[in-house]
């Protein structure tokens, strides 16, 4: 290769490196949740980091690499993302079931909830159910993990008993990791001894 050609090639490579690959424009928009609460989204790009924490706050990267903060309207969101948002699956519905203290029976209210769970399932195209057992803080982690799993399995039996196929139900034991009512360790708290159902 002649020195001249090599030089021209190097120059061309240098120029293309400077221009960088042509970027496709990207837009990120933070949405408020159904309860109006807004989370946070950290947008990390080569040389920048921006945190979105306001409803309808947006971050746009232009094709030349420029970054722009922006705020979009609900109307712009439905224009650009209407079809996408329409394809979001229905959110999970949550039910809390309780056993009668010291018994292998659900409370009257929870027994009535079984019917509501069934009705909720029927409103969904391919419903499945996550059943998660919880305990209070009496006992150690290991025994509560076991106990919470047993509660979940027992509720699964109630659900299959009303005709829900068992392969549509997953069970888990969360032990004492997620207290509904915060308490000290070794506290007898009936409201924490519950089974959470997510229909989805």
């Amino acid at each position: 290769m002649s020195a001249r050609l090599a030089g021209a090639l190097a120059l061309a490579l240098f120029a293309s490196a400077c221009a960088g690959p042509a970027l496709r424009e990207e837009t990120v928009v933070l949405l408020p949740g159904p309860d109006g609460r807004v989370g946070q989204l950290v947008v990390q790009r080569e040389n920048s980091r921006q945190v979105l924490d306001q409803p309808y706050a947006a971050n746009v990267v232009r094709s030349d690499g420029r970054l722009e903060g922006a705020r979009v309207s609900e109307q712009q969101v439905s224009q650009s993302f209407g079809t996408t948002l329409a394809a979001l699956p229905a959110r999970a519905t949550t039910f809390l079931l309780y056993f009668l203290t010291g018994k292998d029976e659900l409370t009257a209210e929870s027994t009535a909830d079984l019917e509501k769970i069934l009705a909720d399932m029927k409103s969904r195209p391919v419903p499945d159910i996550a059943v998660t057992g919880h305990t209070d803080t009496v006992g150690n982690t290991e025994s509560n993990d076991r106990l919470s799993m047993q509660r979940a399995e027992r509720v699964k039996q109630f659900l299959t008993g009303i005709g829900i196929p068992s392969d549509r139900i997953v069970t888990a034991g969360r032990g004492e990791r997620e207290l509904l009512v915060p308490t000290a360790d070794n506290t007898d708290e009936p409201r924490n001894r519950r089974v959470e159902i997510n229909v989805r």
């Binding site: 949740g33 993302f81 394809a87 699956p89 982690t141």
Partner: protein
């Protein structure tokens, strides 16, 4: 201490969804799932696994519910790969990485993000989005627009 708890919990929690990490709940128009080189129909009810790529045509859109209750949907002309999904329903620890290669994406984060705010990431050609318990939208414009 944390690891001990995690190991015990993992042993106790049966993985009923074994390799399935989510399920297609909404499917419209031309939609398919790429898995290990095969092109599978993305019908409602189709189980989704780690390493799947979700693809929609010009008239397509697709919505998936994942094991931790997170919801994702893509609009027309979109490609989203599910790079990584792990979730322990006992401890709520896990990680969830997806890449939007083209098109539009809507995300509602789930249980694992409540447990650990850095558990979920979405990559785009130009960015990495860290999800801190939130709902958001992403759009990649087609070249020339």
């Amino acid at each position: 201490m944390r690891w001990t708890a995690l190991l015990i919990a993992s042993a106790l929690v049966p993985t009923a969804w074994a390799s399935d990490v989510g399920q297609v709940k909404v499917s419209k128009g031309t939609v398919h799932v790429e898995r290990e080189g095969a092109r599978l129909p993305g019908n409602v009810g189709m189980p989704i696994r780690q390493s799947d790529t979700l693809v929609t045509g010009a008239d397509g859109s697709l919505g998936v519910t994942f094991a931790d209750n997170s919801l994702l949907s893509i609009g027309p002309n979109s490609v989203l790969s599910v790079d990584k999904f792990s979730f322990n329903p006992g401890t709520h620890e896990g990680s969830f990485d997806t890449s939007l290669k083209r098109g539009t994406l809507a995300v509602v984060s789930g249980k694992m993000v409540k447990q650990s705010p850095d558990a979920m990431r979405v990559r785009t050609p130009a960015s990495i989005l860290g999800v801190r318990g939130t709902e958001f939208l992403v759009k990649i414009e087609e070249p020339g627009k």
